[in-house]
Amino acid sequence: MSFKTVFTPAIPAIIAANAPKIVAQDVNVYYGEKSAIKELSITIPDKAVSAFIGPSGCGKSTFLRSINRMNDTIPSCRVTGKIAFDGMDIYDRAVDVVELRARIGMVFQKPNPFPKSIFENVAYGVRIHGLAKDKVDLERIVTESLQRASLWDEVKDRLAHAGTGLSGGQQQRLCIARAIAVNPEVILMDEPCSALDPIATARIEELISDLKQNFCIVIVTHSMQQAARVSDLTAFFHLGTLVEVGDTDAVFTNPQEKRTQDYITGRFG
């Protein structure tokens, strides 16, 4: 009797089902002489959450920061290969970084609201990109962004208060509101919950699930449980290489690579 094996498909289901938003091909990132990312190719689907996991120093944050060219601020950093956003190579000479970052928002590890009022925090990006027609329009955008970041009810009575006076979880949601206020298509999140308590983390995760209806979300996380909870696609990085990428459901129950298996089961040497 022959056994037909039911195998994880070569192309993850989420990539097959959703349009590709970001396609990286043979990406190498160097810090000076040191190679941080080696020959990385990955397709990140739109309207879904993709999680990058891996031990510290594996290059997941480096790659995340290559997607919105945040690495440009580090003089020694060099990127080769191609990262395409809707087909356009973001490292092309014609690409204006400022325009790119308006379309690819970012949320950082530590909540980093500007030391300004809650309103100003959200309004800042809108102002510098000239997205609001007038004051009423600006207020509408700020309100909507705060609502979408499910922070509105908590702050609507104190928009003039300092953003830094909020709790950690609220600050992080404020940062998310700030990111979505400029109407990006992609939101990159660099360990957005690592400084938060479990309740605040749950709120952010709930928010991420809401946001994926409209955005392509890429999240770097140290918490495998978090990646398992929120993401559709999981990519495992190790020593600067992409070891495995697949549907989250498959990666966390049946990883194909031994290194992935060892990492997610807590056996990493």
Partner: protein
């Protein structure tokens, strides 16, 4: 597989496994004793089997609690998660095997002195076969050997085939001698129980396959139990 960074996690999993092996050993013993009791009409032995089933039930509850605790404490992933889940499922299968063995033992009382020795010959063979299957599948679990488990899975056909022939045989006896109907019915139930034990062994084999490979066996198991579709009239035509 290398060890976990957290040593206590390893010992948790090892403990689960050893508890399950212990359960398997108990079930094997129960099955052997039950069949022995039935064949030799040893009512004392049968009673001891019936009494010991409680221990197996208690053990199953213990394994389940341990497994739940491990999930809560360690949040197992991938292989480890499958390991814990499979442990729970196998424990349930073994517990059912224990119940079925108890049921066989109970029937010793009913058929006591009732039937001639030769009628239990087929049952004895079937019992040996199922015991061998159970032992093999428990070994396969102990060594996480999916191929061995698949052997068990495939060979359940043999038990089914044997069950078919015993079924026919017993029916024939009953037709020949209506006084035998009571005892034969009990024997029929006992063989059916053994056949069910074989099914549980294949369940365990499937779980071992899932544990090792990470996906469920989607193949239909080769079945040879035709008793439920055998028309009574066909026997006359033999």
């Amino acid at each position: 597989m290398s060890d976990h960074i957290v040593k206590a996690y390893d010992s948790d999993l090892a403990q689960l496994k050893s508890m399950l092996s212990e359960m398997g050993g108990m079930a094997e013993e129960q099955l052997a004793k039950a069949i022995d009791a039935l064949i030799r009409r040893d009512l004392k032995l049968a009673d001891s089997v019936i009494a010991a089933d409680q221990l197996l039930d208690a053990k199953e509850i213990e394994v389940e609690e341990r497994a739940v605790l491990t999930i809560a404490k360690r949040q197992p992933m991938a292989q480890d998660l499958r390991n814990v889940m499979v442990t729970i499922r196998i424990a349930a299968d073994i517990e059912r095997i224990g119940d079925l063995a108890k049921n066989i033992a109970k029937r010793s009382h009913a058929i006591y002195d009732g039937i001639p020795q030769r009628l239990t010959k087929g049952l004895e063979r079937m019992g040996q076969l199922s015991q061998a299957q159970l032992k093999l599948v428990l070994d396969a679990f102990a060594s996480s050997d999916a191929d061995k488990a698949m052997d068990v899975w495939r060979h359940d056909e043999d038990i089914d085939a044997l069950y078919n022939s015993i079924f026919r045989e017993l029916l024939t006896y009953m037709m020949e001698d209506p006084r035998m109907i009571g005892a034969c019915t009990h024997l029929l139930f006992a063989t059916k129980n053994i056949e069910r034990i074989g099914d549980h062994a294949t369940n365990i084999a499937e779980n071992i396959y899932y544990l090792v490979h990470g996906y469920m066996l989607k193949e239909q198991r080769p079945k040879n139990d035709k008793t439920s579709v055998t028309p009574f009239s066909s026997l006359n035509n033999d």
